[in-house]
């Protein structure tokens, strides 16, 4: 049924339609509305046979999900940013134990400096924890991916992280089609665990594994992800057949036929990118884009097939590997190993900075003129950065960087003389 609702509410309702049995919640912006929504459905009785547990930390939230999943209960939680890092140990643990938990990440920057707005630093920090990582482009896809995620997780016995851009998607009101319970029940069978604690058949889960088998355990975790490369498109196709709309899949090319320049990105920014592609195409540019739906497993072969014919690849990414550059670009280069074309990185949207069509069009055109650096920071304020570099070079006690930048950006709001300025006088 079509309704005008908040992205978080759409996700909450989609999760509830998946009949989770244990949902654990800890508040962190910007995912909080999601667990609030699920909690309300449990409390009202609309979601039956589900325990909603308010825990004391994200670490506990995922740990509760681990325990519940280990006895064969369908388990769900959601987090973001600092919360994802706070539960990092349990994130690896859930994957290592092969427990098919589904977790939403409302993507948000990681501090310091503390920042509540959207980028992909959080999920990128845990990209190699052994979870499948899906990225939603729209609110409709965010809701739909959760329905697919439970099937994917349980078929492979592997946890799945559904990454949803904080605020841009979680807090946006859009028209969403939330399916009926009968439709979801027909698509998602009951959880049939491959392992579970059972008093009639007692075994130990979580034993220590030494050098004699650790590599083999890890190999099988890798193999599970490789298997997911086949499962993800299959269940996305079945979803399309059942629900009549496209969602998920490994990747989605947009106007890539004959494209000389192809832009690759994750998540909601693809909407903006497609608008720019359309505008540039109208001006005669041969440009296309690819939305990456699954970042783990990374669709190396599928991406190669789409990108190999292009003259240049531009990765627009909302995360940064300091000291290296782009994370997505590093992965894309892996897909294009042996190919000659450059893979350029545009770091964009960090800490919620708007990614405008004008700025994107500018970097795409520079790339076409072969005038774009290997790594570009979109809309970087060079004046402020330059002043800080000069300040740091001029005095040892130059003070905290973030606060210096904010002062430089708001000179009229400075109420007191900074200590080192004071010392100079």
């Amino acid at each position: 049924m079509l309704r005008q609702i908040e992205g978080s509410q759409g996700i909450a309702e989609a999760v509830a339609l998946c009949r989770p049995q244990v949902v654990c919640a800890y508040p962190i912006t910007p995912q909080t509305h999601i667990v609030e929504g699920v909690g309300a459905l449990v409390k009202s009785g609309d979601l039956e046979n589900c325990e909603f547990i308010n825990v004391e930390s994200e670490f506990a939230a995922l740990s509760v999900a681990i325990g519940a999943s280990a006895v064969g209960a369908r388990s769900y939680t959601a987090t973001a940013s600092q919360g994802l890092l706070f539960m990092a140990e349990a994130v690896y643990n859930a994957a290592g134990l092969g427990l098919p938990i589904v977790m939403t990440v409302g993507n948000r920057a990681i501090g310091a400096p503390i920042n509540i707005w959207n980028d992909h630093s959080d999920s990128m920090a845990l990209k190699d924890a052994g979870w499948i990582q899906l990225y939603a482009e729209t609110n409709q896809e965010a809701a739909d991916l959760h329905i697919q995620a439970f099937r994917l997780a349980e078929e492979l016995s592997c946890p799945v992280m559904v990454c949803v851009d904080g605020f841009i998607l979680t807090h946006a009101y859009e028209r969403l089609d939330i399916p009926t319970q009968a439709e979801v029940d027909a698509y998602l069978p009951p959880f049939d665990p491959v392992q579970q604690l059972d008093t009639d058949n007692p075994y130990s889960i979580g034993a220590m594994v030494g050098p004699e088998a650790f590599t083999e355990v890890r190999y099988l975790a890798h193999q599970k992800q490789i298997d997911a490369l086949e499962v993800i498109p299959r269940i996305a196709a079945e979803f399309e057949a059942s629900f009549g709309r496209v969602a998920g899949g490994l990747l989605r090319p947009y106007r890539c036929e004959d494209a000389e320049t192809i832009v690759v990105a994750l998540g909601s920014v693809n909407g903006t990118i497609k608008d720019v592609v359309d505008a540039e195409r109208a001006e005669g540019a041969r440009i296309g884009s690819v939305t990456i739906g699954a970042f783990r497993p990374f669709p190396l072969a599928e991406l190669h097939d789409v990108l190999a014919g292009a003259k240049r690849i531009i990765c627009v990414e909302k995360a940064l590997a300091p000291g290296l550059g782009g994370i997505l670009a590093s992965n894309v280069r892996m897909a294009l190993r042996g190919e000659a074309q450059p893979v350029l990185t545009v770091i964009a949207g960090l800490g919620g900075r708007p990614i405008t069509r004008a700025s994107l069009a500018d970097v795409f055109r520079r790339a076409e003129r072969e005038a774009l650096d290997d790594v570009t920071f979109l809309d970087l304020n060079r004046e402020v950065v330059g002043a800080q570099i000069a300040r740091a070079a001029g005095t040892r006690g130059s003070g905290p960087i973030a606060e210096n930048l904010l002062r430089a950006l708001n000179p009229g709001l400075v109420h007191r003389v900074p200590p080192n300025e004071d010392a100079k006088q």
């Binding site: 004391e56 670490f59 034993a207």
Partner: protein, 339 residues
């Protein structure tokens, strides 16, 4: 009951010792361990050190819980000695469903197990979570407090050997003052662990007003089993804190584990009590009170207090004051005229 009416004949060498106790009991009063029907939840062959108090305590606690649960029991284990020495896979000592996730999350995992069992229509299956003092009072403290606060239906058992033994004897917040550990060496002006810090988890558990809190000791195994049985009568969060000497970490003889545990109780340093809904309801009276010296002298971790010709009487007196305070606080004194 006398020797004549005892269900089992007592041999001459058993009289006048503590070991005779079980044989004087009628069948119903005997320990779970004395029963051929015990579950052996942790069976033999594990890799604990000789004289390990934790292995003994866990065996008694789990078998007693198994009996109380009618065999329907699952265990969640924090990382630590107990986890490592019981599961050198492909061998496992656990004959009950057992799950190990991480060091600091056993209470939360157990919460999830209990919730999952309810949702899967198996509320009769009971859940025990367990960890050492590091996993309980330090790294798992937040999760444990959360579990208590929500009154989740889990019995949590802490095996307290007063330091991080699995990593090589480092100080925990349960390490007693003056004790030497790898991170509180017996050096300098104030050798060993400092005074006036640390936590006593049972009191913190009581502050959550959970249904049941008890302390127990491997020197009083009958009492330990009875407390586990009592704990299993409740639903909601329950906490049992078991004192388990560690020969390796304490520098004590393997065969002295029970004796040291008994001296900890008889000196007053480790009070035995039960609390329900936040209030102490019973405490174990001390029959033969001993000065703390007798307890401390058996352990090399306190050897710096007893250097020849340079005994640290001030520190020993300070430890004695802690014992005296426990005796007063928990009413451990035997009433006048009792024998």
């Amino acid at each position: 009951m006398t020797e004549d009416t005892a269900p089992q004949k007592i041999k001459f060498y058993q009289t006048g010792t503590h070991t005779v106790g079980n044989r004087l009991m009628d069948e119903d009063g005997r320990t779970v361990q004395a029963s051929m029907g015990r579950s052996n939840a942790i069976t033999s062959g594990h890799r604990a050190c000789q004289g390990c108090g934790e292995a003994l305590g866990a065996r008694y606690a789990l078998d007693a819980a198994m009996r109380a649960a009618g065999g329907k029991l699952m265990a969640v284990n924090a990382t630590g000695c107990l986890e490592v020495f019981t599961t050198p896979y492909p061998e496992t000592s656990w004959q009950i469903p057992w799950l190990h996730s991480l060091f600091g999350n056993a209470p939360a995992v157990a919460t999830g197990v209990a919730a999952g069992l309810r949702m899967r229509g198996k509320p009769e299956v009971r859940v025990v979570a367990q960890g050492g003092d590091g996993g309980t009072t330090d790294i798992g403290f937040g999760c444990l407090s959360g579990m208590f606060e929500r009154n989740d239906d889990v019995l949590y058992v802490c095996y307290d050997n007063e330091a991080y033994m699995n990593t090589g004897v480092q100080r925990s917040s349960a390490t007693p003052p003056a004790a030497r550990t790898a991170t509180t060496p017996a050096l300098g002006d104030a050798p060993g662990n400092v005074f006036g810090t640390g936590k006593f988890m049972p009191k913190i558990a009581m502050a959550h007003n959970i249904p049941y809190v008890a302390t127990a000791s491997v020197a009083h195994l009958h009492d330990l089993e009875a407390k586990v049985a009592r704990a299993m009568e409740f639903r909601g969060s329950r906490y049992i804190h078991i004192f388990v000497p560690c020969p390796l970490g304490w520098g004590s003889a393997s065969e002295a584990t029970i004796r040291i545990a008994r001296l900890a109780v008889e000196s007053g340093l480790f009070p035995l009590f039960e609390a329900e809904h936040g209030e102490v309801v019973a405490s174990g009276k001390i029959r033969n009170r001993v000065p703390v010296d007798e307890y401390l002298r058996l352990q090399r971790r306190f050897a710096h207090l007893f250097r020849k010709g340079a005994e640290d009487r001030d520190t020993i007196a300070a430890i004695q004051r802690m014992a005296d305070a426990n005796i007063a606080r928990y009413g451990l004194e035997l009433p006048e005229g009792t024998i």
